[in-house]
Symmetry: C2
Subunit: 336 residues, 2 copies
Amino acid sequence: MKIVVDAFGGDNAPGEIIKGAVSAVTEEDGFSVVLVGKEDVIKKELSALGYDGKRIEVFDAPDVITNDDSPAEAIRTMRQSSIVKAYGILNKDPEAAAFVSAGSTGAVLAGAVLLVKRIKGINRPGLCPVLPTVKGGSVALIDCGANPDCKPENILQFAKMGSAYAKYVLGVKKPRVALLSNGTEDKKGNELNKAVFPMFKENPGINFLGNIEARDILSGDYDVVVSDGFSGNIALKASEGTALAFLSILKDGIMSGGLRAKLGYLMLKPVFKNVKKAMDYNDKGGAVLVGLEKLVVKSHGSSKAKSIKASVLQAKALAESGLTDEIKRVFESGND
Amino acid sequence: MKIVVDAFGGDNAPGEIIKGAVSAVTEEDGFSVVLVGKEDVIKKELSALGYDGKRIEVFDAPDVITNDDSPAEAIRTMRQSSIVKAYGILNKDPEAAAFVSAGSTGAVLAGAVLLVKRIKGINRPGLCPVLPTVKGGSVALIDCGANPDCKPENILQFAKMGSAYAKYVLGVKKPRVALLSNGTEDKKGNELNKAVFPMFKENPGINFLGNIEARDILSGDYDVVVSDGFSGNIALKASEGTALAFLSILKDGIMSGGLRAKLGYLMLKPVFKNVKKAMDYNDKGGAVLVGLEKLVVKSHGSSKAKSIKASVLQAKALAESGLTDEIKRVFESGND
């Protein structure tokens, strides 16, 4: 099995990406990595890191798509970019199981949609990050940004894919599915949600618990929260922003709180470290794009080696989990 | 000036609501309160609290709309409810400047839309809570739930009303306005956002800084964040949920962290208290519905006396601020 990695995607590329790939192959057996990007730079970095093994291939791609490029246009025109080249490998090499990138989210998603074959029966793939809950478990949030404009049937498909994800990746037997809305009552929602609600209710393949507000996403009472890509992105980013704001306000308070606060901080440091770890969904790898014949893992743009390693190992685990086959089975058999 | 208060709205009604109203008139002069609800119960509570002043009137309303009632239907059919009666007072009594309720958000909003006159030029009022930022300031988020389905012109109106709010209530000379989206680039967004973006850009009355992601709402770089009511509600509730999740995970960590953690917590207690206060937007009163001839303040459903007092005093301050006149001026003069 090969995991294809965008060596030139992200704020800390290529150094941290290459380091992360080396860590991943050092930590686990049973797969190899294809680093895609400027060949000479990658090779130099690899030898600087002292890596001379056979489990990392390098595939040349002289161009880089940045956050300033228009995603869909870049995918169409920058054929020599690391992202387009990586998708080419995914399509051609049956050994290539997944793609990991910390590059432009828009370009990674546009490339996936335009260049990678979808699973039969799925109109749009969904981006599915996994967040920590207050009960210590996890919740999958799908779609978080691949599809800013959705039709009801897209959202129904996200629910089915999310359920398969929770089953095969999070190990939940009967995933509890909720629909993200502006209230918990059955009739709450915008027009889109109101059209989706009865479809969820009537589908025997979805263990549907009803509408939830965004404040309940992290409650631990649900395994899958389903949303259109625009609202899901807003929920995800608002959570992220609030966690960061909380830490920032706390830090300011400690800094200006005199000796007592600083001593208190030192004593609570291990607790803070655990909280930060619990809240940091990036540490657990990236957001997975599901619904395609091959897996795509989008790491955070600010990923360092540790996150890239986590994403590569996550991609490998996903490829081994049977998730793609399960989704195929669900969509072949109809509603279940 | 009279502030009309729903004595039977909210989880802690009527006791905490009545207590909050008494605190408000005790703390500030220059206004009176009309408590709407079951007259005998309210009168009993008032005398139990030892209040025998002339600044609280009681207006009888035998019915209560709950969260289980369908909002629009309840407004149409439950004419004897505290919410419908309160809007009646708002419409009839020129002295009645504002309505405060901690009751069903849906019913308060539906009642406002169906029963209260809108300011000329405004198609839909917007719900506008004020959140704390990491820089110690405030940001107004409009619309947060009054309008789950919006047209581009509704969102343009929210931007103008939000700017007026930031000017007249938050005291910002030239409010910095952002559009909530799924990315910061100009072309990001769903179809609705893409239609709104150029309208913001071209409007001389809006100091438009561009699209932002939900993670930047609390950054302190913006005074007004504009959104459709569905996405805005999700951003608000996701922030709230994450702050609560953060506190909960922190608490668990302290509880299981042994003596060291508990000592550390005691030393940091004043800091935690400040953080909690900084993050708690309920403490500062409720979310304001703007765009109507009269003001409506929606307090959190879980409001206790302290929040109700804050909301009543906020309603009074809003009525005195000249906000409604400023909004009228903006919408009369066209684009500025």
